[in-house]
């Protein structure tokens, strides 16, 4: 993950709101990617044997095995859904900020 951008002298005024937008975007991305890694590579691989032995079993599924063959996929789909909804909301907010900024410019 790259560090958040330092504010440079923006060449155009409308780039100003991109700062908030970009940081919010990076934060959302980081959160979702942590869940992604924890579910797939963590529960599905690194801790699969321990989850199989210690975790509660889901019906006939040992838990680690379930994560590797079912659970991680379900989570992946949900992660993208959350991302699409949250980002599109963020985009809309960003759009409003830009409009406001350009109105102020005109004044």
């Amino acid at each position: 993950m790259p560090p958040p951008e330092k504010p440079r002298n923006p060449p155009v005024r409308r780039l100003q709101p991109l700062g908030h937008y970009w940081i919010a975007n990076l934060r959302l991305m980081a959160t979702l990617l942590i869940i992604w890694a924890a579910a797939g590579l963590g529960a599905g691989v690194l801790f699969a044997d321990r989850l199989n032995e210690l975790g509660p079993s889901l019906g006939g599924f040992p838990l680690g095995f379930w994560f590797a063959q079912q659970g991680s996929i379900i989570l992946f789909i949900l992660l993208i859904l959350v991302y699409a909804i949250a980002m599109n909301r963020l985009d809309a907010q960003h759009h409003l900020e830009i409009e406001k900024a350009s109105h102020e410019d005109q004044r």
Binding site: W36, G60, F61, S72, I73
Partner: protein, 606 residues
Amino acid sequence: MSVLAWTYLLVGLSFTLYLVIAWLSRVKDTRGFYVAGRGIPASVNGMATGADWMSAASFLSMAGLISTMGYAGGVYLMGWTGGFVLLALLLAPYLRKFGHFTVPDFIGDRYESSTARIVAVVCAVFVSFVYVTGQMRGVGVVFARFLEVDINAGVVIGMTIVFVYATLGGMKGITWTQAAQYWVLITAFLVPAIAISIQLTGQVVPSVGMGSSLTGEQVYLLDRLNQIHADLGFASYTAPFEHPAWNRLNVFCTTLALMVGTAGLPHVIVRFYTVRTVSAARWSAFWALFFIGLLYLTAPATAAFARYYMIQSLQGQSGEELPPWFRSWERTGLIVWLDDGDGRVRYSNREDNEIFRSGALTSVRFAEIRADHERWLSGGRGADGRAVLRELGLSGPDTDIIVLATPEMAGLFNWIIALVAAGGLAAALSTASGLLLVISSSVAHDLYFRIVNPQATEARRLLVGRTVIGLSVVVAGIFGIYPPAFVSQVVAFAFGLAASSFFPAIVLGIFSRRVGTIPAIAGMIVGIGFTSSYIVGYVFFGMPAWFFGINAQGIGAAGMALNFLVAAALTPLFPPPSAEVQRIVENIREPEGAGPALEIESAPEH
């Protein structure tokens, strides 16, 4: 109606449908040819991405692999779906905003270098060729078994169909055809899985059935499988890391390499150029994984069901009792029984195993082994074919037949069996066409138009594009007839290479304004050089897995890390990119203005 008649009917109908769609969506300009005129709705694009993505390997081989690998099969499930999360979060919206035709276009423009563009073109073409080979082979396998033609004739028929609709419709034709192919393949995959799930466990949803108990018994299906496996000397079905080749590190690296490779595959990335807006690119990533998930959540269930049926229907049977599906598959050499003289089939993981496959052996050599074995059995000279095949690593049936044979094993209706054949063909053809388009656009757009002849007219570029597709189909077909390894293994290599070349370069290009030309190119070359030499050495020259014991499928993860490291280490030593590129990066991150502004793409000076 017989299975054969049903197969001809369903395959014929589906092929007609594809050709009709191709004709209706034929295109006249390069924009339509490469990015479908950017007018595809998100959900349709998701479906098309799904079909593009779910290849012969996903449809035919994956459930079979999981069936023999048990837990470790999860590397394919997690790897091939997890990559879409990376794609959706890190690449798709930004590349859509960038808005050029191809992945090499992005690399070339972001790193301001023809060298970078050429490296990317070479990678894209190489990855796509490796991948398309597996598809053509898959087409051959389906034709050989279901339409009772020679495997090579099957490859030629498949090539012809792809040739027609890919050259006619380009990306537009391919996208709409793929949406149709998605429904054919998902129906073909789900219908038998649901039928078997009901038959075995009484559950309608296969994913639930897999974790349920067998009908009329108190035992969970998975527990029963583990018990059968233990009795026959196979590793446990659900316990991880029991097989030395699939230890924790290798499962981890392979999963990661497949995930990152998925996100870096040019034929998947290019799908996100075909939607209208940045927001639609995100939604189409969601729809893509949703549609893909339907198959990927069902595949492990099919795998477990097939494993159970396979062992149950073969174990201890005499020659006359063997089910008809076994006899029809034996002709293809994908499953073979070499008796030890007691007249009973024994399938195990020990020396007394009697089930084998012919693998890459020529049919002449294979017939020799069988004849030798017969002689050995009747007490004459000759050799124990079981020992010979075990030596060659050909124990057990070929994993490619699991999906195709399971409906027959379960004794489902003839039309369901035929449906699977149509689905397998849809999966193979849809992926092949997407890949061929990437090869065509890489050569005709990135190489010919952007580097060799920037003055080329629209008509000429389209002609070059079509010619390249035509040539690629032929080359892919030749690879399909003489395959380097079996379907899934070939595909796995494409991922290692995609992971170690594109993914780091694109991510750095979007998320860092500082990384310049030389670090990026050096990273790509080191990444792909390391990965490909490791895979080639390991697979073809018997090189030991010297890098921490990581196998060929997982090495792409290390190659990717190297690529990132090299690029990061060199960055401070070289100048940052120009103001123009800084502006491009800034613009990619800005979600606004992705709409009409892009019309400029069609301008001749682009």
